[in-house]
Amino acid sequence: MGMNTLQHQPSETNAKPVGQTEKMTLVQAVTDGLRTMMSEDEQVLVLGEDVGTNGGVFRATDGLINEFGDNRVVDTPLAEAGIIGTSIGLAMNGFKPIAEIQFLGFIYPGFEQIVTHAARIRMRTSGRYTVPMVIRAPYGAGIRAPEIHSDSTEAFFVHLPGLKVVAPSSPYDAKGLLIASIEDPDPVIFLEPMKSYRAGREDVPVEKYTVDIGKANVVKKGEDVTLICWGNMVKPTMEAAQKAEKEKDIQAEVIDLRTLYPLDKDTIVQSVEKTGRVVVVHEGHRTGGVGAEIIGLINDHALFYLRSPIERVTGYDVHVPLFALEDHYLPSIDRVYKGIQNVLAY
């Protein structure tokens, strides 16, 4: 199944653009979103390691330096705290910096800047100073990357007040969510599923459009069970749903969250009220993962609709292994399928 079979659903507040489209991969859609916003707003800057002349290690910023110059597409020293910390200063003084961290697993030296400053400056100044910045980071396992490159630690950021956390799964969503993130007046952690960067192409509008932060996408409708996932996990989850439908006539509803903070409570609750059964799929570690928060949300808002305990299909509480074992770490189609069977058999 290619990416183009995952039909994007525009959220209620966003009409789907009707103009010209181009077939794009997810990473090309990211570039297109950056270009769109850099053309529109001179305050938008891109900075990070290798983002300039090299165009980014994944080519996400390819060609931008030629269009916008090295004052707006800035190759920085190799220093995550420096990239994020100076971006905070730029953001407080009128710019909209988009900081690229080469891999999410490398964000930790800059974590303190996110926790102690980016997320708090609005609060500490009662709104006088704000940090309208985006931190982009490829994340997730499955591309045979070296050690530490494959982390999926989105839960760290979901836990922090003052940050929004976005994780698109498709080219259409990547561009629309990136533009929404750049326009957002608060700091946004923008997680790019690197296994999906070139996994397929879909029609992406050439014009500017946004996908609302905080709106999930129901990628497949169904009555029997709700499958909740995001990013790189949408593909195996969809394939497991299709397998369940084909083999057992199970109609699964698949929700691609798209935003991890704030969660789309209404879409989740409405689906649970309909199906009464839930499987949450994520590749981050299980303990304290975003799945636990989703289960908490369902507990708070839809407990008595549940007909079985909620199943979690997740990465294990181990460091993402070196790639010889990463397929065993990652939720597979079979593990998701087993999860579906478990909640239905209860």
Binding site: A81, S126, G214, P262
Partner: protein
């Protein structure tokens, strides 16, 4: 290295103006510097007492560091950006922060972080050295906008061990940002002496690695601090990039009111250091020049004392914070999570 970075001193502890700087004697400026230092000292001592009386929370005193903070802050222009640490109230007050707000902050109210309109004074940074890259970013933004504003960032000797100090200097150097790094080397990072903090003989020399000019200045000499900071700011404004200033000073008292310095240093040292006191040396100099006015000093001190008392009253009468206030500035538009939790407090549901 100490020979390469001699401590620049304009006024000796005895109150003698170094002959090289004789032309810098400006009675008005020195009296204003003294006045600002005296006011800061009155404030600081009162703040320590207020903490002892339980009227504010833990407080970070600065007595002994007045010249470093005030000399540098007096060199700033309104369009500049100030990034203080938690000990730099003398600097923020000099740059225009309100007394009441500084007290309000130490009384546990985030509203106290707010500087007056039009003044870029950041909330005191509590983590060590993390404000340094912000100052670089804000300065870089000034440069990109083609403006002449500069940033000054305050930090202590301990901060130079942190990665953010080095990343900040490196970025400033690479991007030629108009920023002044202002280190108050007061000899201790809580209990750890500089000799245990680093093997470098000076902090100023650390700038060599980044090809940034630096200067070591007597941090208890308000005139030297002012002149050297002004030079650094002028360089920044002319597009000549960043400067690191090491102001060698001493803090007489504790790291904070929650700390007992007798555990890690001989406090008689602090009494010996009084001979180098930043206020005393200016007083001596003014006396030498026949410009000292005892009544004036007395009046400044009394007026400041009254001002602080009034600010304390204002602080204590400041309207109590609504519990829901904590939800107001997390995002521009609150998320549903925050709206729900705010509502639960309003309904007292917990």
């Amino acid at each position: 290295m100490e020979a390469e970075f001699p401590v620049v001193q304009y006024i000796s502890p005895e109150g003698q103006l170094n002959a090289d700087y004789a032309q810098t004697y400006d009675r008005q400026h020195l009296m204003l510097s003294y006045e600002n230092m005296l006011k800061a000292r009155v404030f600081d001592r009162k703040a320590v007492n207020l903490q002892r009386q339980g009227r504010i929370g833990t407080y970070a005193p600065f007595e002994g560091q007045e010249a470093a903070q005030i000399g540098s802050a007096m060199a700033l222009e309104t369009s500049d950006w100030m990034f203080p640490s938690y000990r730099d109230h003398a600097a923020t007050l000099t740059f225009g922060h309100s007394l009441m707000n500084v007290l309000l902050y130490w009384a546990g109210r985030v509203e106290g972080c707010m500087p007056p309109e039009g003044k870029h004074i950041f909330p005191p940074s509590v983590p060590i050295a993390t404000q340094i890259p912000h100052a670089v970013g804000a300065a870089w933004a000034e440069k990109l906008k083609g403006r002449t504003g500069a940033s000054i960032v305050y930090f202590g000797d301990g901060a130079t061990s942190e990665g953010d100090f080095h990343e900040g200097l490196n970025f400033a150097s690479v991007f030629h940002a108009p920023v002044v790094f202002f280190c108050q080397n007061n000899g201790f990072a809580i209990s750890v002496p500089v000799s245990r903090q680093m093997k470098s003989k000076t902090i100023a020399q650390k700038a060599l690695a980044y090809d940034i000019p630096s200067v070591r200045v007597d941090g208890n000499d308000v005139l030297a601090v002012y002149e050297e900071t002004k030079k650094a700011l002028d360089r920044a404004r002319k597009g000549e990039g960043p400067t690191l200033i090491e102001a060698v000073t001493w803090r007489y008292g504790a790291h904070t009111t929650a700390d007992d310095p007798t555990k890690y240093r001989d406090q008689s040292l602090s009494e010996e250091k009084r001979v180098e006191d930043p206020l005393t040396r200016v007083e001596r100099m003014l006396r030498h020049n026949g410009d000292w006015d005892e009544e004036w000093a007395q009046r400044v001190s009394e007026e400041m004392s009254d001002r602080v008392d009034n600010a304390v009253k204002d602080m204590e009468q400041y309207p109590a914070a609504e519990p829901t206030f904590m939800f107001d500035h997390i995002f521009e538009t609150p998320t549903w999570h925050i709206r729900e939790q705010r509502d639960s407090i309003e309904r007292k549901e917990g």
